[in-house]
């Protein structure tokens, strides 16, 4: 489903800094992995390449059989819109839309409106336990609640792959566990693949497999403690 093939990415010209030098990775449908690594090791950069928000200098990112670098920006955007979901560290709910409308955004973008959309929104809000807060504005929610809403938004349109960059970075341990559990359950329920970028071993352990990004290369990790 997702194939990362000898990808490299360099930033800047003088001094040029090769953040990713040779990264390869294959993810199958329904597979849920974690990527760990020191700050500045290029984890977010890798996610951006996967999402087609940025293009590699070398190598290819193939998603659903399509080489991202061969698509133009709007084609990549449409691909992303339909098949990807995101959870951010800073939540990024739109401040002036109610929870319900925030969550419904990907559906609207994909042209799904009306009762069908409403039904799915109800279902996912129910699943993340926010049915009763559907009309609240983001500012009135706690961090944990906001991130649960973000998880709902990432999954509402049944994407094939969910990318989560430090989703628990702004949360206390308890809320973090709650959100991670939810994320895992929903991914498995929908059969979606997921990539979780995190610094937290505990978080990483909720995934199926852990990778480590170090000196521009990605390697499978046997023990989470190795990354600390």
């Amino acid at each position: 489903m997702l194939l990362i093939d000898n990808v490299a990415k360099t930033f800047g010209s003088q001094p040029a800094r090769e953040v990713l030098s040779d990264v390869s990775l294959r993810i199958c449908a329904g597979q849920y992995i974690a990527i760990m690594g020191e700050s500045g090791s290029g984890k977010s950069t890798l996610l951006n390449l996967i999402a087609g928000l940025d293009l590699p200098d070398r190598g290819r990112v193939i998603f659903e059989g399509r080489v991202l670098s061969e698509l133009d920006d709007s084609q990549r955007t449409i691909l992303r819109r339909a098949h990807l979901g995101f959870v951010f560290q800073a939540f990024h709910l739109l401040p002036h839309l109610s929870l319900e409308r925030n969550v419904g955004l990907p559906l609207a973008l994909n042209g799904i409106h009306g009762a069908r959309a409403q039904q799915r929104i109800d279902e996912i809000l129910d699943a993340v336990g926010l049915s009763s807060r559907r009309r609240s504005m983001p500012a009135n929610l706690s961090g944990g609640e906001m991130q649960r809403a973000a998880v709902a938004r990432a999954l509402v349109h049944r994407p094939k792959l969910v990318l989560a960059d430090e989703p628990t970075g702004n949360l206390d341990a308890e809320s973090a566990q709650e959100v991670l559990a939810l994320l895992r359950i929903q991914l498995k329920q929908d059969g979606a693949a997921g990539i979780l970028v995190t610094h937290s071993p505990a978080a990483a352990e909720t995934t199926d497999e852990i990778f480590r990004l170090h000196r521009g290369r990605l390697s499978a990790s046997t023990s989470v403690h190795e990354t600390i």
Binding site: L53, S74, R81, A82, F88, H92, N110, H113, M137, L141
Partner: protein, 842 residues
Amino acid sequence: MSAAAFVVLDAVVLRPMRRNLARTTLAVLAIALGIALGSSIYLINRSAADEISLAARSLYGLADLSVESVGETLQDTLYPSIARLPGVAVASPEIEIEARLADRPRASIKLIGVDAFRYAEMQPAIARTGNDSDVALELLNPSSVFLSATAARELGLSKGEVLNVQVGLRVEPLEIAGVLPANVLRESAGLIDIATAQWKFDRLGRLSRINLRLKSGVSLKQMKSSLQQLQQGQALRITTPGEATDDALRLSRAYRANLTALALVALFTGGFLVYSTQALMALRRRREFAILHALGVTRLQQLWLNLSATAVLGLLGSAIGIALGVLLANVGLRTLGQAVGAGYFSQNAAPVNLHPVEIALFAAVGMLVALAGALRPSLEASKVSTAAALKAGDVLSAYSPANPVALTLAFLLGIAVLLVPPIAGLPLPGYVSIAILLIATVAAMPAFIRAVLKIRPKTNFVAYEIAIAELAGTARYAALSVSAIVVSFSLMVAMAIMVSSFRTSLDEWTQKMLPADLYLRVGYVGQSAHMDESLARSLATLSGVSRIEVSRLSEASLNPELPPVVLIARSFDVDAIEDSLWITAKATARAPDDTTPIWVSEAAADLFDLAAGDLIEMQVGEARLETFVQGLWRDYEHQNGAILIQRDTYTRLNGDRAINTIWFWLSEDASLRSVRDALVANLPPGVQYDIRQPGEIRQLSLRAFDRTFAITYVLEIVAVAIGLFGIAAGISAQVLARRGEFGALRHIGFTRGQIGGMLAIEGSVLGAMGVLAGLAMGVVVSLILIYIVNRQSFHWSMDLHAPVSLLTSLALALVACSALIALLSGRQAMGVDVVRAVKEDW
């Protein structure tokens, strides 16, 4: 300053200013622009006022008092008795004649006939005229004239050349015996011998005034009362040179006051821009303030730092503005001259400059405007709830609705102020009302934006929905972005409606006032040139002329305390008066038997507090007349009032049978050209006259109108440009603050185009709100301008006429502009680095 304080200053004030350099610069420039316009208009005004009063003053020389007649002229038999009054040191008789220049179209010169020796005692500087012989002796020569320095320069004449003036239809050559020193007679005028003047200009036995110098120790009051006893059946007007100067100034005061108001408008708009930039900055930096507060910067420190930084910005703006203003004033006085001043300002003014006190005053004004603009935002910034602002996902602006009761009260207050009568003859309450209404409108903008967004149509178009939600959520923030455009656009609309109403009314008025086919005019009020009845009779018999009417322009006095009004003595059919006069009120009754019917212009009605049906005593020359106000008429020509009277009555009254204007109606088959040619052929050669068709007069008056209002157009455009800058500043600040949001949207699957579309929608909706509010407020302000301000300052009434297509296209252009501005400021939001913005917390 301690190191710690500097760190705080740096963090709270300096760095943010440097980071928001563009917006900071904009605020400084807005203040600078306001101050520049204000100080330049002030300077132009001051130099005009100085010029006018110096000119008026120089006319009187060392005189302490001046005796004039209430009607036209004094009898010179009065002179010996006044000169003999105890307490009078010198009495200098003068006669003033507005002489038509024979060899220049439509030009005239004021000739002052003086008794050379008495005059020299009033104006000792005259001795420095630089002639070898005695000026006084030279003046006695009946064909000599001395020109003032201004007149010599304007006419391009010098000593030894000849000045041809027209008396009736006769040409009188006068030899220029010399040019006076500049400080003797400042205005454009010439001196001749009084006996020559009386004789050559058919004013035997007449005087315009007698200037008196009093013996030391004699009080003005004493002198005035002994003069009053001396009246000899003539109503005397006794003024001091100071009072005469005031009269001269009053003529142009309304115009100058309105210019000043325009300058204030610019400053006002600048103040709003400071307010919105400061408020936007404060909103955007909520988190920053919260962090600083959490770290230990006290709220008072924050407030103080913010305000003092703003004061510095205000001072900076003022400094730039003052320099610019002095420059503008000098350039304006030199190049625009007549165009700027509607003829009130002389073209050859010396360079002007501000005095230190004035500089300090303008600097203080600029600083205060900046502080006033920054006060509320700074107070709010210092009150930011630390906990709320530090929380992730904190929203830029919470909706804090203005108190509806306070808003309603403000609007009511704005209306109520209109009931206050003008102050010192100036429409100040009108301007105060406009300011209050504008401030209230800006305060009501958030509520207005939310109300309008509530009734908007709903769609499935995601970019539109998000844009609307964003606007509704940040209504206050959005309102700030548009406050400057609301203010400037409403003023633009108001001016446009006012100018167009005025122009349309003027146009209709000229057509109404000019029912004849052709007009022949020789001379004007008080001018020496005129025609006589025999000429009129012979012109009436020319082939192609079916009928004529004639009029004579003279002066009358309704109140000895006030300047005289123009008296138009015209032959006309009383029942058909509405064919040639724009009657605005009519007396229901007919004039009582022992009174004379008169028709009073609106300006005269306002100045003398007259209504149709009133009885009033009028002084024409030496005659007193019981008159009945038969009707009021609209008049854009005589700002100090005019009165129409039947010519028969007038000639019976004082025997003056001279004619200034002849109206010609042509027979159906007559050719305008040939009649015109025949008229010219029948006028004595070498005589100055005006022959015009109504169309030409209409064009001339409209052109003069457009020239006068040109400066207001420029100021309007400047104000609207400032307003657009406000929108640009607001939207780009917001785009910067929302980078994280845009990043997230790009992740979710928004295309660049969709984000651009979203911003364009926000921009145009925002612009449309500003334009709508501005339009509504502009209409209200225009009503105030038309029905109150103009009526009070110029005594002109006009019919409302909105330039609908102009306003519509302006409004659309502004909305398009704001969409474009939003798009441009959003360009960075659509770049790649927005993707990285998702990790920025704020």
